[in-house]
Symmetry: C2
Subunit: 328 residues, 2 copies
């Protein structure tokens, strides 16, 4: 019997942290947004045991079905999340397959690409192997499990935005997701500084161990900020959201993850009258800063390029679309 080749195409959005970074790992709420940059995974089943991986981010890799084993992902750093996702379904794989990953954007800039590729890969595999179809909450649970296997510590906030789309409130201990209505333009700048989230978390953890009482207060303050921002977001009080972003930025700074480059970009954003507030997005010490509002791009580019030749404006916006099945 010749089996018909099956094709599953799924895309998942990248994401931007808006509120609650670091504190989310201590059980506090976070606000995260899906963005209009997506990662698409195309899974084509094969009649043999070959697994061919191709990615616009990581190149090409071939292996055999029998190679799939726990910890295989450790030996192929560029394929961490894809391989850990495949391993998640190891016992259920009936044959090999071709898997093609296409990203709308460059991974080094961050924007939750690891979570997005994990969501899309797991979703494609789920469509193939688990005929019950995609359930958002179990997809999120599996994604967080896979990301934690690779990264150790991970909040899953980015994965939650990739799965659900739009702006969401997220609570790590329960994986609870609340979708928020409303959207607003963002201005996003990549700092030119790339740093692994894990090393930022280690840096924060070291400081926290020396000042645990103070850090408990910082996380409580971030939680209060996030809670207020959620309420303000839902009533479109953008001035309040912007002010809370500015406050949150100070708390990021207090956690020890601010840099001269990031702060220069943040003050540049704040100098634009259309920007309500600005902060680091994500763990800090590099990656992106975000401003709430649509800045005067020409003027902003002049301001930032005078201080940081590596900084670049990233044309991304909030997107309501979460993980999406394109072909099934």
């Amino acid at each position: 019997m010749i089996k018909k080749k099956q094709k599953y195409t799924v895309s998942a959005p990248g994401s931007l942290m808006l509120f609650g970074e670091h504190a989310v790992l201590h059980g506090k709420p976070a606000l995260v947004s899906a963005i209009d940059k997506r990662i698409t995974v195309e899974l084509l089943t094969r009649d043999d045991d070959e697994i061919n991986l191709h990615s616009t981010l990581s190149g090409t890799q071939s292996l055999q079905l029998q190679d799939i084993a726990p910890d295989l992902w450790r030996s192929l750093p560029k394929w961490h999340f894809v391989l850990a996702s495949i391993t998640f379904y190891q016992k259920h794989l009936p044959s090999g397959f071709d898997l093609k990953v296409t990203a709308d954007y460059d991974a080094p800039i961050g924007l939750g690409s690891s979570a997005a590729v994990t969501v899309a890969t797991l979703a494609a595999l789920t469509l193939w192997l688990d005929k019950k179809g995609l359930m958002q909450q179990s997809l999120l649970r599996h994604t967080v499990q896979v990301i934690r296997e690779v990264q150790g510590i991970a909040s899953g906030a980015d994965a939650a935005a990739s799965v659900y789309g739009g702006v969401i409130a997220y609570h790590m201990p329960t994986l609870k997701v609340t979708k928020l209505a409303n959207t607003y333009p963002l201005t996003v700048i990549y700092s030119g500084q790339k740093i692994a989230t894990q090393s930022v978390l280690e840096h924060v953890s070291t400081l926290q161990q020396r000042h645990d009482q103070v850090f408990a207060h910082l996380y409580a303050a971030i939680a209060a900020c996030t809670h207020e921002a959620k309420q303000a977001w839902q009533i479109s009080d953008w001035q309040a959201v912007g002010e809370l972003m500015n406050i949150h930025q100070g708390l990021h700074d207090a956690l020890g993850v601010n840099t001269q480059k990031l702060v220069d970009l943040i003050f540049a954003l704040r100098s634009d009258p259309k920007i309500f507030g600005a902060k680091i997005s994500g763990a800090g010490m590099g990656d992106c800063v975000i401003g709430l509002g649509k800045a005067d791009i020409k003027e902003l580019i002049e301001t930032i390029s005078a201080k940081n030749s590596q900084a670049q404006l990233i044309p991304v916006q909030i997107s309501s679309q979460g993980v999406a099945v394109i072909e099934n």
Copy 2:
């Protein structure tokens, strides 16, 4: 009968806020240091009713004993604190006097000059009029009363350091002062930005009214920072004190009182390996930043002058001497 002229000379140190700014106004603790820049007040009694004021900061002013009345200080801005101090003793003044104020430093740079001149003026008047002599705690109480009459809101933390000298922990509601042992070099830079403390407080108050829950957490975090810093200071754990200064700086930023100029100076200080930590000193939005440790001055001047031509290093250090009677 010809009365012998009496002369009373008192000096009081300026001060630098180390920890607890803003939160101190909400009943949280502060750490403040007296510095080795002082204001000296020389009071020479007269046989007539003339009051002649002379100050290296404010020039010259003459008035009559009968001119002294509540609110007189309002009409002579340059003499606010001196006149409010004299009015404090209005009913007890038996004659006129010459009063000469000499400052070791330029008042615009801040450094608690208003509190120091009030402490020294009240102390000189007390020596003359209240034969019981100087009691530190009542001098502090009177000073805070006079400063509040002029300024409205005032923590009195700077006055407490001027009275007691050295590094002190201060609690506004009770005016309680605890002297801390130990000292360490500071590096102090004036930002070139001058802003009245009152307008900074108004700015913070406006933001606080819109985000009172978040601000309660910020003040609690500042209090935790100050509490830990007090303990670290007493065991000479300068690394911990420096880290807590960095954390406090983030909280200053969260309160909305940071500026690009201040943050540039702070990152310049932190780039020096001998600096354990750096932060705004005082209300913020201008005035001074402090680093814990003795920076490489030559290199620091090069770094900061490239970014801010108005910034200047202020050669001040912690001083253990509080208010002091020089001539009685």
